[in-house]
């Protein structure tokens, strides 16, 4: 089964979270922070740190490590508007 991440198809085994499927697909970072523009991906892996935020089917600020990847999901990176360069 497949979902898309920023338009690219990403496979998932049907049980995985979005974060796990992205990591398995070799994608390690999918967000930039709003102040320093720093790249971020998984850190705590269990829903504690909020570093792995993604937009899922238009809904922002979803924790990729908690949300299961469903076929056809449209997942987008969560770049935040830069407040300070």
């Amino acid at each position: 089964m497949m979902f898309t991440f920023d338009g690219r198809p990403v496979p998932s085994d049907g049980q995985q979270t979005i974060a796990a499927a992205l990591l398995a697909g070799g994608i390690r970072s999918w967000r930039r922070t709003r102040l320093g523009g720093r790249p971020r991906g998984v850190f705590c892996g269990i829903g504690v740190c909020f570093d792995c935020l993604v937009r899922v089917n238009g809904v922002p600020a979803q924790r990729a490590c908690l949300v299961p990847a469903r076929p056809g999901d449209v997942v987008e990176s969560h770049d935040e508007p830069q407040v300070r360069a």
Binding site: D13, Q15, Q16, T17, A19, A20, L23, A24, R28, S29, T33, L35, G36, R38, P39, R40, G41, V42, F43, C44, G45, I46, G47, V48, C49, F50, D51, L53, A61, C65, P68
Partner: protein, 462 residues
């Protein structure tokens, strides 16, 4: 709103043991858990798991099979517990669900404790628990060539799980010296299954040719957009970096953990009294029957002091037994069995104290945390801003630092940086962290994000 005699929050070892015990005593029980399947972090598994790679899997299967009359509510992260001042009656909110309880057992467990160091926010750096959860719960290795670092026995299962799953483990870097267990002979002998367990990990590390370094730490992570390597350094017996001992290790993954932070926020919000444990954690103060200071609220597992799964299983039984008796049910065990549980509790607590004495968080990070090193990842606050607030704005405690710098006020609400921010503040003020410093980061009116749609859909009729 459905009502229960006992509501258990958390379905890890402590919560499952509590739920089964309370049901055996004749109580109407619900167990709420944030995960999709019971087991907590310790028994995190995929839905087709056969127990391979898990410790004490038979215990989990036994508890799961005995959940029969227990209402199990999964994918239910509790964000608020309402209470009444006059009687022990509680309303537990998870998403739009609300359940009522006469007694609560808080068994919310813990998450990894990490301290900041240069480069710790690079993709490729994860907590030790994340590395473990990705393999056990998702069947995914987070990196190909991994360094495992920090302190505590948890580093060993992490390293061997990763190696079993196909990662190359470039080395385990333990900041402390495990030979110091020799100073704690009685507590170690009191937990007799710990030695063979350590032996099994040593054997698996040898088989995978994983190098093990003691009194060594990862002091910096390198890379521009992703991790490409780390700097490791030897530590002296006080935990400071030995000058000139630094060397580089190439890796695309770093799993790091310095013990655990108990998740006490629900209990703190209820008003339960807290104390500092020997590992520097804020934990719930409990009596011998695991009652907290709030009538009707019991606690079990890591929230009463980090001590591992065996201790959590014992505490879950004791807490639920006491809750059942307080509701007028007969005790679910004989006096002899209760005596055995109490002795096991004492023995395992003593072992946990030895573990905390051997594996303190080393002091090096406070010296190595330069002004540019991020303390708070969410609000991107570097250590220099904390130091300046203390020097120029006369802030003297962790709460003041939080309010003036936004440390701990972002998405994670201080779950990741709270411990380190409290330590940094105390260090700059020339004192040790206090209960008040840590409580500043543990008090959150809402324990989880909740959507307006969930709020609107909640059934609040009593």
């Amino acid at each position: 709103m459905t009502g229960y005699d006992v509501v258990v929050i958390g379905a890890g070892p402590a919560g499952l043991a509590a739920a089964v015990t309370a049901a055996d005593a004749g109580c109407r029980v619900a167990v709420l858990d944030s995960g999709p399947r019971p087991g907590g972090q310790y028994w995190r598994h995929r839905c087709d798991a056969d127990g391979r790679g898990h410790r004490d899997w038979a215990t989990f299967v036994d508890l799961r099979d005995r959940l029969g009359r227990v209402e199990r509510i999964s994918d239910a992260a509790v964000w608020f517990i309402g209470s009444r001042p006059d009687s022990p009656r509680f309303t537990v909110h998870a998403g739009s669900r609300v359940v009522a309880a006469r007694r609560l057992v808080i068994a919310t467990g813990a998450h990894d404790r990490v301290v900041p160091f240069p480069g710790w926010d690079l993709p490729g750096v994860v907590t030790a628990g994340a590395a473990q959860a990705l393999v056990k719960g998702q069947g995914v290795c987070f990196a190909r060539r991994v360094v495992v670092a920090g302190t505590g026995p948890f580093l060993l299962p992490v390293a061997t799980t990763l190696a079993d799953a196909g990662s190359t483990v470039a080395g385990v870097y333990e900041a402390n010296d495990p030979f110091r267990y020799a100073r704690h002979v009685r507590p170690v002998l009191g937990a007799p299954d710990k030695l063979p367990e350590a032996g099994r990990y040593a054997w698996r590390m040898l088989r995978h040719r994983v190098p093990y370094h003691r009194r060594t730490a990862v002091v910096a992570a390198h890379g521009t957009d992703e991790l490409t390597g780390v700097t490791v350094a030897a530590l002296d017996p006080r935990g400071a970096v030995v000058p000139g001992s630094e060397s580089e290790v190439a890796c695309d993954g770093l799993a790091v953990g310095f013990g655990f932070v108990p998740q006490v926020e629900l209990a703190v919000a209820l008003g339960c009294a807290t104390r500092l444990d020997r590992d520097g954690s804020l934990v719930l103060a409990t009596g011998p029957d695991l009652a907290t200071s709030v009538p009707g609220v019991y606690a079990a597992g890591e929230v009463t002091g980090v001590g591992g799964a065996a201790l959590s299983l014992v505490e879950g039984q004791l807490a639920a037994g006491a809750a059942a008796v307080s509701l007028g049910h007969a005790a679910p065990w004989s006096a002899r069995r209760r005596g055995r549980l109490l002795r096991a509790h004492h023995r395992l607590r003593r072992f946990a104290a030895a573990l905390h004495a051997v594996h303190p968080v080393p002091a090096w990070w406070l010296d190595r945390c330069d002004d540019d090193t991020l303390v708070c990842r969410c609000e991107e606050v570097p250590a220099g801003v904390v130091r300046r607030a203390m020097r120029e704005l006369s802030v003297c405690d962790a709460r003041g630092v939080k309010l003036t710098t936004r440390v701990g006020m972002g998405w994670c609400q201080g779950r990741v940086c709270g411990y380190a921010a409290a330590c940094l503040t105390a260090h700059e003020a020339g004192r040790r962290p206090t209960v008040a410093d840590l409580t500043g980061y543990a008090s959150r009116p809402l324990a989880q994000p909740v959507t307006l749609a969930d709020l609107a859909a909640a059934d609040l009729t009593d």
